[in-house]
Symmetry: C2
Subunit: 246 residues, 2 copies
Amino acid sequence: MRRDPNSRTSGAVPRYREIYESLRQKIVQGQWPPGHRLPSEHELARSFGCARMTIGRALGALADQRLVTRRRRAGTVVNTPRPQESVLEIHDIEAELVAEGVAYAYQSLGRRTRRANAADVAALGIPAGTPVLALTGLHLAAGRPHALEERLINLQAVPEARAERFAGISPGRWLLRRIPWTEAEHRIAALNADAAVARYLAIRRGTACLTIERNTWRDTQRITHVRLIYPCDQHRLVARFRYRPI
Amino acid sequence: MRRDPNSRTSGAVPRYREIYESLRQKIVQGQWPPGHRLPSEHELARSFGCARMTIGRALGALADQRLVTRRRRAGTVVNTPRPQESVLEIHDIEAELVAEGVAYAYQSLGRRTRRANAADVAALGIPAGTPVLALTGLHLAAGRPHALEERLINLQAVPEARAERFAGISPGRWLLRRIPWTEAEHRIAALNADAAVARYLAIRRGTACLTIERNTWRDTQRITHVRLIYPCDQHRLVARFRYRPI
DNA sequence: AAGTGGTCTAGACCACAAA
DNA sequence: TTGTGGTCTAGACCACTTG
């Protein structure tokens, strides 16, 4: 079963990908409905004329994409349709605006160091009394308010933030450069602008705003909590489902 | 270099995972900073005392997670910190509520078949004149309005929807059971409830609402477009960054 | 030109779970 | 008990890309 080197032209797709696509077509086109059991790796290796490991790679890719479930002895079975899972990329605001060719600036509105109070404890999930830095600022796009930012930084995790004035650089970007975060959680909601938010964002009171809360960890240590408030007419998030690269 | 069967106890992590973890630690703890080039697969195979393919699997997992970039001849290089990418799971509303133990019902508010007009073309991205089914309905949680749904279904892609009355089943669930979609795109935004939305959802006019628009494809064919409108106090989305399973 | 990763083979042993 | 997938080996040839 030695492979014929001429069976693939230069740059052609690898064999395991061809097999993956072939099997995938059978599933998504309904030829193999949910619950159907695929032939075993050995059988597929025989029918495709390749080594078992090549089949294993193709089937592993199908399993990665949740198209099938694989269990020893039970075999490989077609899944019922997956839950809707999308990949949401939430970028640094500055990067986002610069990518659109819009002038960006960050304007600091407030900066306080304190020991964590009850609200800080709830937001950042750290013990009461931990030193935190509370920042408020405005992201400006083309000179106009784009988003309001309320941020807490855990000074125990990022002591060097105590001395930083964040002049000309947004806290988000400053942190991103220094702290390699390993985990993040986003909460997305809508709210009506109150008087203060409306004033900062130069919108009418009551205007619907999209809020994004982000918690960031480095391993198990909490780094920062931030809430970004966007006027409804200036922002939307796009999340696209995508297959994991195989 | 035959493998010692006693080197792994039953159920232990596989060798490639151990190696993956070992290399990952060096990266996330800063021992191998961004730009650092890892030893070649051959060298690593020698130092870990395993076959090159096992190393390749571990390095492949690091690349999947964007911790490293791999290129022929150039080698495997540590990446600079990744963009903020989160996985957002948007479930079927019914499944979501049932998981929380809340009684669920779907109430149809309108149902029309027509040939795609300009608005339909914009929403669904199909040629004008294509037959579409336009549905409006309310998702009820514990008997109270939970979300308002406006949906378009491409009847060319799902002809059997023409005869379906959607009594007792939401269109989303009905579709999910029949059509194995392959791609989806979500757009998330905020809006102020207008008079009609406020009436259906039993909220005050102007209340901020979270809207989720979803477009669904099967391969290149457009299946459906749906807009869900949630009152701000009843819904939020959570997206969590996570490493891809390896 | 040479070294790197990408892919593949033809075996092998084992863990696991279903029959 | 037995068939399945999970993992691994020790090679091999090749594509790519950089020096």
